[in-house]
Symmetry: C2
Subunit: 389 residues, 2 copies
């Protein structure tokens, strides 16, 4: 398994758990109503509704900073059923999470529909809020207390997003997210995005997560104590009917489109100081020719993560239309063309409807894969026709 | 005035008005409970709470698309006092707007604090939601019905943002925004961002808007009918104590730092098909040396907009530390250094704490200014110390 997966970006480190607390963590010395909660009194107006236990104070600057961060973030240490500020609630008998979001003006592109980057951001946000609400977020990046004790972090190995409809500016959406088992040592996280007005499903997504030792950067089995924390949150329910089993082939220097010398900028780094997922996606999509992007919209993306990308890496983005792959024609597009009487030649003259992608770091001696991906596209329609007319 | 200002990006086109409705606009043929609202019945579950009048149907595709967009966006056509999905409410006797927002995981940078880009996005979002709630948003970009009749749009001419504290991931903020008069033909829009828990003000911002003819792209006087719409919303209250009166000098090819050949990408365009404000900001900030950015945080920015930037423009970003300007030393930084006993030489050895910026399009015959700016910075502190300890 370790050879297939790699260490990955990402702040999303999406876990949801339900277990015990360490008494050794700095922030775990808690007295809600005790003598150490003096800062609460000094704070003046404290208007948040959550239960907000306080860490103890060590008297040194770091502790004061930690306290301040704790007060300002207000991460709950007990499971919350509703969050009035995030418009979040626990569903699925208290183990799934639902959040209502409004598509914001800056989350849409020139065509007034949400960008795929914004949608990925919302997946990350709701996943982290799920963990947040669970009361077990210990380090801010999704690790459980049991994981912290074992020096483990979550890394994402695979993600698939299917977009049937793109939400538009101002549209109210409901995002459901939940977790399930994935093999013996992994976790699956799924999402469903629905129109709040009609219940129509716009987007389905699934992802796979494994644990990695923070120091050795090697993948790890799931310790029993961690399984005990998170297993109670697992649901046997899949957002994506059948995960695409087709392997994503590795591109090489012969790829049709190549963008080289891509350098992460300060603004591309997330809280983990890794290049964020959205930047990966932009690098990949910007390698597809503009003429194609103008007339098509993304309907499906599968990402296979291999290695994390840091701020000093120099990245190369490779992209190959699947239509011309030796490994096979773009089956669906071709056969529908043939059915329409255009024949195989007609089909071959068509634009591709799928691309294979690779992001890799260009090292002096060797290249290292960051992420492979496959994108599938459909022609843009004039209207989305989500309401009967 | 027309020579000073220019046509500008921006989707923000921030107006708030309160007046009549045109009976000639396509979407204005409204029968809420009448025979034409058949789509409402067909829609099945309709769970939104707003009053949602329906446009009439012309029977052609564009009308169906317009109807669908109308239903999905659900822009209210009457003033709303609260918006449960945006966590928005009217304040200041019903003419100001307040929205509660949680800083999201992807809105913060590597240091866990909200990026200035995210903050500008939130200003845009709340301004548009203010207009949205007013019931008078006619074209989706902020124009009033009176402006639509006169073929006018809003353009921003100046913006200033003062950041005393940066919110952190998960922090709950309250954003207030309101409008006021600015001269005879302009409008001012202000914002205040406060910690929801303590009421401490983190950010103050102000902006100036004028009207432009959509076809001729020339600035326009404010027609009486438009004044009648928007004047009732004006408040005599300023978020920024004293707007910086100092003129921003125009940089030329002698500027210390120059980034050339900057090209907008597809993802940089907003709903108006102009380069969005955040991209401007990135281009400007990325021209400042990395060593400086690592140790400083932005405390104040003034932007003077001159011309809109389209997708085919090639942009140059110029940047000059103010410390070394002939036009004067960085007054505040120098005098505080002198007061601290370092003398003028000591002060001159310090890093600058202010930069002048210019974005311009590089034409074949001449360059054209897009935006001038001045940024002011402070050294990064270990902790923000917003709570007494």
């Amino acid at each position: 398994m370790a050879s297939v997966l790699g260490c990955v970006l990402t702040v999303t480190a999406v876990y949801i758990g339900g277990g015990g607390e360490s008494s050794k963590q700095k922030l775990n010395c808690v007295k809600v109503n005790g003598s150490k909660s003096f800062a609460l009194e000094k704070m003046g107006v404290l208007r948040q509704d959550h239960v907000m236990p306080m860490p103890c104070i060590g008297g040194v600057d770091e502790d004061v900073d930690a306290l301040e961060e704790h007060l300002r973030q207000n991460i709950p240490r007990r499971k919350q059923m509703v969050d009035p500020y995030r418009l979040g609630e626990m569903v699925e008998k208290g183990v799934g999470y639902r959040q209502t979001v409004v598509i914001r003006s800056y989350e849409v592109g020139a065509d007034k529909t949400a960008t795929i980057e914004s949608l990925l951001n919302l997946l990350q946000e709701t996943a982290l809020n799920h963990v947040w609400m669970s009361g077990l977020l210990s380090d801010g990046f999704g690790a459980t207390h049991g994981m912290m004790r074992n020096n483990l972090i979550w890394v994402v190995s695979r993600m698939q997003v299917q977009v049937d409809h793109y939400p538009i500016w101002g549209e109210v959406m409901e995002i459901d997210t939940w977790v399930g088992a994935s093999g013996k040592n992994g976790m699956r996280r799924d999402w469903l995005l629905r129109s709040q007005a009609t219940g129509i499903v716009f987007i389905r997504a699934t992802s796979t997560w494994v644990m990695m030792n923070k120091e050795t950067r090697r993948l790890s089995k799931m310790p029993d104590e961690v399984r005990a924390e998170i297993a109670p949150w697992f649901i046997e329910k899949h957002a994506v009917e059948e995960e695409s089993p087709e392997k994503i082939e590795k591109l090489d220097a012969n790829a049709r489109y190549v963008h080289s010398n891509l350098k992460p900028k300060r603004s591309d780094l997330d809280m983990n100081h890794h290049v964020n997922n959205v930047k990966y996606l932009r690098w990949m999509l910007e390698t597809i020719p503009d003429e194609f992007l103008e007339k098509h919209q993304l309907s499906d993306i599968v990402l296979e993560y291999r290695k994390e990308c840091g701020s000093s890496d120099v990245v190369q983005s490779l992209c190959e239309p699947r239509f011309n792959q030796n490994t096979g024609l773009n089956g669906h597009a071709v056969s529908s063309q043939i059915l329409q009487g255009n024949g195989l030649l007609g089909a071959l003259n068509q634009r591709p409807l799928s691309y294979t992608h690779l992001l890799q770091t260009k090292g002096e001696s060797k290249n290292e894969e960051i992420v492979r991906a496959r994108t599938t596209w459909r022609e843009k329609k004039h209207g989305a026709k989500l309401f009967p007319s």
